[in-house]
Assembly symmetry: C2
Homo-oligomer: 308 residues x 2
């Protein structure tokens, strides 16, 4: 069980030298997801040596440029590299038209399948699910339709308690499958039963990551992101510019920390800094007045949680 | 009279660290033009300290991503900077739809005017003209509709020959305007006439720059670019990969040099290198077998011609 999050870009608005717009690479249960894709993301994927050809699912929060202008370039590059695997794109309604119009006018149809999953629901919904992972939207409140995304490991199998199992020589390797699924042990002749709880240990707690950008302070997301291990929450401003959060529909570092505290998250990562601020440590200081376990997003920084 | 060309990006296909797609900043007669705008161009404009807020006209050769994916981001950034001046965009039909669709979905209408000049003519045409400069298309042959651009200074005024003028005390400062326009000097009483050719010198030769990317070898452009001072011509490949030029409709360094030689240009700049090549000096070496005055495009490199 592990989550590995690589920050690619974490600044707001225009890309600048050493200040790249939002993009994150998430590895969870061997799945590789890209979250947002600001201009220049493909260069950052290369720079930070991310295995980006293995990305099969891209999640776009909203259609402001600093969150998706790099998507069409990445799609083109996949094509140039001879990609064959399907690519799934989750994003607001309209994203399909933007991408396909550009592909059509360039006469550059991809040889791999591009599958769009357009979002318009105002309630949280399950948008991706496989055997091991689920992804839900987190409806946010910004100037245009915007979603955050909640990535959750599914509850895994029970773990074999090998010390006990070895002391029961009747239990064979072919029984392990049923034990992991939670079934009791029943001997072949049906005379001997051992409760599953004696032979196995509970599965590891599933890990979860919530990505919340861009949004104004929105306590209604707290139930959705309750107890996540890592929360990324935008903090475009500090409290000194709080008046700007209303017109721009962004949050302050203190507001992000308040959401983290209410949701009882494991750790909070701040990002989406306005270019007005040179000293990013101030974001951490402000947030620390509300919540303790705080980190600053930074291009190339990796956040990892591992569980046995 | 001067031309100053700053290379921003000069590689083909995907942006990579230190290999940026096509974009050039041209200063001619105090006009500031942007030519093509691959992904990341706005970062390069900042990096090379180009006064990019003064760009009023952007020329896009074709709708392949490595020539225009940075345009929407630059337009957005101009908006964030509070731009008020009109911005003119010249490019293939379809460019307006791509840009306006993205602006509409982002609900980010610019407060400055965006004026699109969509091109679909297959013949060379005048697309920009003011008092001092003209811009013509150079129809190219690529996989999709593509134009190069020819930037020409207009013939300036005749220069005053001050040594002669000062020896004629009757000639006053208020006469200079007519003399520069080529008129003969006629004294107030009409009794004295001095031919203009005695009092003035010919104007400087107008400078010109031709941008030709992307195209297969196309001798039909030679009459359009004849005698230009600087020619930028794509050289995606060397002759060792000549077979690729047919399917991709690109040129080799030798073919670019042949065009330069036929057109009798002042200097040739090569660029749009394929990522297959690490040693770019080979492009120069190959081209030198045909034409002598050759330079390699490189991000941040400035080419300047000045005339008194």
């Amino acid at each position: 069980m592990s989550i590995k999050l690589t920050i690619l870009g974490c600044h707001s608005a225009s890309p600048r030298k050493n200040a790249f717009p939002t993009a994150q690479f998430l590895e969870i249960k061997e799945r590789k997801f890209l979250i947002d894709c600001g201009e220049g993301t493909q260069v950052l994927l290369r720079k930070h040596k991310v295995q980006f050809s293995k990305i099969k699912h891209i999640f776009i929060s909203h259609l402001h440029g600093d969150h998706f202008y790099g998507l069409i370039g990445l799609i083109s590059t996949f094509g140039l590299h001879g990609r064959k695997n399907d690519l799934h794109i989750y994003g607001p309604k309209g994203i399909k038209e933007i991408i396909t119009l550009q592909i059509k006018l360039a006469k550059s149809w991809t040889k791999y399948k591009l599958l769009f999953h357009e979002l318009e629901n105002l309630e949280s919904e399950l948008i991706f699910e496989d055997k091991k992972v689920e992804v839900y939207t987190i409806p946010l409140s910004h100037r245009i339709y915007t979603n955050g995304f909640l990535f959750k490991e599914k509850l895994g199998e029970r773990k074999l308690n090998m010390d006990v199992i070895r002391s029961n020589p009747k239990i064979e390797i072919c029984d392990y499958h049923n034990l992991k699924k939670g079934k009791d042990y029943i001997s072949e002749d049906g005379n001997s039963i051992i409760l599953n709880s004696k032979l196995t240990l509970p599965p590891s707690k599933p890990l979860s990551y919530a990505f919340c950008s861009d949004t104004q302070y929105l306590p209604s997301i707290v139930p959705i992101i309750k107890n996540v291990d890592i929360l990324y929450h935008e903090s475009t401003f500090l409290e000194d510019k709080k008046e700007l959060t209303k017109q721009t529909k962004h949050s302050t570092a203190k507001e992000a920390a308040s959401i983290a505290q209410q949701a009882n998250v494991g750790q909070l990562i701040l990002g989406h800094y306005s270019s007005r601020y040179d000293n990013l440590e101030l974001f951490k200081e402000e947030a620390k007045t509300i919540f303790t376990n705080i980190y600053l997003a930074e291009s190339g920084k990796v956040f990892e949680i591992k569980q046995l």
